[in-house]
Every structure is written in C-alpha cells, then in structure tokens.
Symmetry: C2
Subunit: 242 residues, 2 copies
C-alpha cells in the first residue's frame, strides 16, 4: 500500500490537489505562525482558534477571557492582545486562555485545508513530533508551504523538504511528487545551516531588519517541542497520542 506524499510550494495549489478525508494535511509557516502555535500550546494556552480577515476581533469578543494574537502583513494590528512573536506567548500571558489567532498567510491557508482527515501544523521547533504523527497514519500526506504574499517562502519549502526526508527515510511506502522532490533538494542544500536558511530567506531578512532577530534564533531550533498541533472543530489543540 503506497501513500502519496505531495508538497505544495504555495497555497495557490490547494485547489489543484485532493485534500479530502483520505489526506493528512500539514500547514507550514515557519516565520512565524506555525512556530508560535506549538509555543503557545506549550505555554499552556487552552486552544488557538484560527480566524481570518475581519472576523478575528469579533471571535475574540465572543469568547469570555479570550485573547487575540497574530499579525497583518507582519505587524501588530490595532486591538490585538498579542503579536506574532513566540516570545510573547508565555505561561503568564496565555496559560489557560483561549487565543484567537489570525495571520496574513498561514491562517487562511490552514482554513482551506479543513476538508482533510486531519490538519496539523509544523515548524522546525516541532517537526520531529509531526513526522512521527504522519508515519502513524495510512492516509496520503499533503504538506503545504504557506509562503508570503502569494509567493513561496524558502524556509517553508525547506521544512517541507525536511519532513519529506524524514518520511522517505522511515517508510518506503511514500511516493513523492514533483513538489516533494523539489523540497527535498532545497532541504539538502540547507540541512546543516537552518539559521543561515532563515537569514537568507526574504521574510527572515525582513524580520531581522525589523528587530526580530531573536525570533529567527527561536524558529531555527529543531525539535524544541514534542507537541503536534491539530485542528479539531476549528480549535488548534495538541494531538492526543494514543
């Protein structure tokens, strides 16, 4: 029994690929949404509720005690309680709280994957745990690089390549598509220098210019968390391992 392993270099490809209940989908938005998500869960957030566009504020206001976090075009929008830096998601701020989470690229792509059997999120900080979770299933796998402003992001595709390498090394049942072959080649170029990868990417260079160098250091850490975030009933929570 083979399992198709597809890497989407851009969310624009979602419409061209099957993402139904025969698929495990993984959203990758390394800088910084899918690095923030496991950090927030590790800090004790009760759940993150993804919300796109203008509905974000209303969602927060409808849930007693909820916080609103994330970004618009990389910046803190008016009325948000938290930005898009993992450093803000401390136990003090988010412990026991619901966080409505909204971002320009990652969240809209995540919501487009809701038809899949399971929707996970991955970044360097938790890729090992996500890889294990993918190996445990029997569905086809679709890894989606969120990119930025409708263009692909080097760091997101590279992480898809790292996950591809893990899956191909662990199981011969996976059949990679062109996107997976490309992601793998990109990962092989950068696998020994994740910090350099993030600094080379356009988004990483922009974050450094904005004074967020510490976030790059954070997001470059591999397997800091054993948490696998999963979207369940429109809430992102840690996957329960059985």
């Amino acid at each position: 029994m083979t399992r198709r392993l597809s890497v989407l270099l851009l969310p624009a490809e979602i419409d061209a690929v099957t993402t139904d209940d025969r698929v495990l989908a993984v959203l990758v938005d390394v800088l910084r949404s899918t690095s923030v998500i496991p950090a927030a869960l590790a800090a004790g957030a009760a759940a993150l509720i993804p919300a796109a566009g203008v509905e974000a504020w209303a969602r927060r206001d409808a849930i007693p005690g909820a916080l609103l976090g994330g970004e618009r075009d990389g910046r803190l929008p008016e009325g948000f309680d938290l930005g898009n830096s993992p450093s803000e998601y401390t136990p003090d701020r988010v412990g026991g709280r619901v966080v409505v989470f909204s971002s320009s690229n990652g969240v809209p792509a995540l919501l487009r994957l809701r038809g899949a059997h399971r929707v996970l999120t991955a970044a360097f900080v938790n890729e090992g745990a996500v890889g294990e979770a993918l190996l445990g299933g029997s569905e086809d796998v679709v890894l989606v690089a969120a990119g930025k402003d409708r263009r692909p992001a080097l760091e997101d595709v590279a992480l898809c390549g790292s996950l591809t390498a893990r899956l191909l090394a662990a199981a011969s049942t996976f059949v990679p598509d062109d996107g997976a072959e490309m992601a793998l080649a990109i990962w092989n170029r950068w696998m020994h220098d994740v910090r350099g990868l993030l600094a080379t990417s356009a988004h990483g260079a922009w974050l450094v210019a904005q004074g967020w160098s510490a976030d790059l250091e954070f997001c470059a850490q591999r397997d800091l968390f054993g948490i696998v975030p999963v979207l369940e009933s429109n809430r992102i929570v840690p996957l329960r391992t059985t």
Copy 2:
C-alpha cells in the same frame, strides 16, 4: 546597479510580481512547448503565433498557409496540423510557414507576460543563448516555470535554476529572490543528470508512458540551438543579435 533575479515556481505568481517594461521575462516549459519553439524556428518556421483556448483554430484559419500546432492536456486536439513533439517540426513541414501555437500551460503563461520589456522562451536546448541575452540587458529578470495543471514541474524549476546559476556566475549584479534560491538548489541536485531529471518528473514519466521517450531525449540536450525566441507584436521569432 543591481538587477533583481526572480524565479516564479508557478504562473500563479505572475500577479504578485512586477512584469512591466523594466523586466526581461522568460517562459520555461521544458516538456515540451519551449523545446518545440526553438526547434520550429531552427527548422525555418517564419514565426510562431501563440494563441490560447478556443481562438487557436480561428487564428490559423485567418492566416493563409498557416499551420496549427501544440496540445491540449498533452494530446493532439482535433483539427491541429502538428502536435507538441519537436520531432514534428521539420523543415519539410514548417519551413517558411507561420505556425499558430497553442498549449495548455505554456502559452497562457506566455501571454500573461506581454507587459514586460522583452519576453523570451527557454529550455535546455537553448538555455546558453538565452542566458547570454539576459546578461546583455540591464533590466530585472523574471524566470517563469510554466508547470502543469496549476502545479509546479520539477523540470521547469530546474531549468530556471540552471539559468540562475549562469547569471550569478557571470555577473555579481544579480540579486536572487527566494524562488531563485530554491531553483538553484534544485538545479544543483540534478545538474549532472538532466536525462534523469526529466524521467523523474511527473510530466516526463507520463510522456514516457505515452510512448514519447524520444522527446525526453531531445529535450534533455543542452544548447542544441543558439536561437533565442522572443515575443514581438504577438509573434515568436528569433531574437536578432546586434
């Protein structure tokens, strides 16, 4: 004076990138449209006229003596005089003739680039000549991988990587974007095995299954032609070198 070097992994990115008169744009559709185009010009075709969708037949009928060539979903549509195999574009068939050329992925993407200062096409069979033409300009460069069915194609991105490598090696003025960095890593993986690259790609495997192995061999040849096809007044003709 720096020149931006952008690689678009999919035509979907065209709307997110500037392609105005400050840009040299290059369309890449290795299997097989942009391999056919220089082959047809080398065989003496007077010009190729790109036509998308249903207008292809009418364009042919409006030009006395014109032929209609290309494909729809990789197959020969009814009423076409020539398919999408370079082997069909012989001096006997196309010498001195105008060929209306229509394809599913390459031609629509080509037409979307018309606002650029100059629009060229490239494949392995003529990449050296195209690289030289790009070095001769001062504009920003946008390389567009045509892909297939709204998904990226390994072979198109790899060729963009090969062109990227040529440009970066020849001139330090080029500033690569994330797409160019990715294409470069993919090219580095395959640079010593273009035949294997084409056989690995989904489109290449499909062509082999359809009996078109000889076309893969043809399209894997590097620098067979010194022709640089350029779109001028909606006709694809050889670029005149001054």
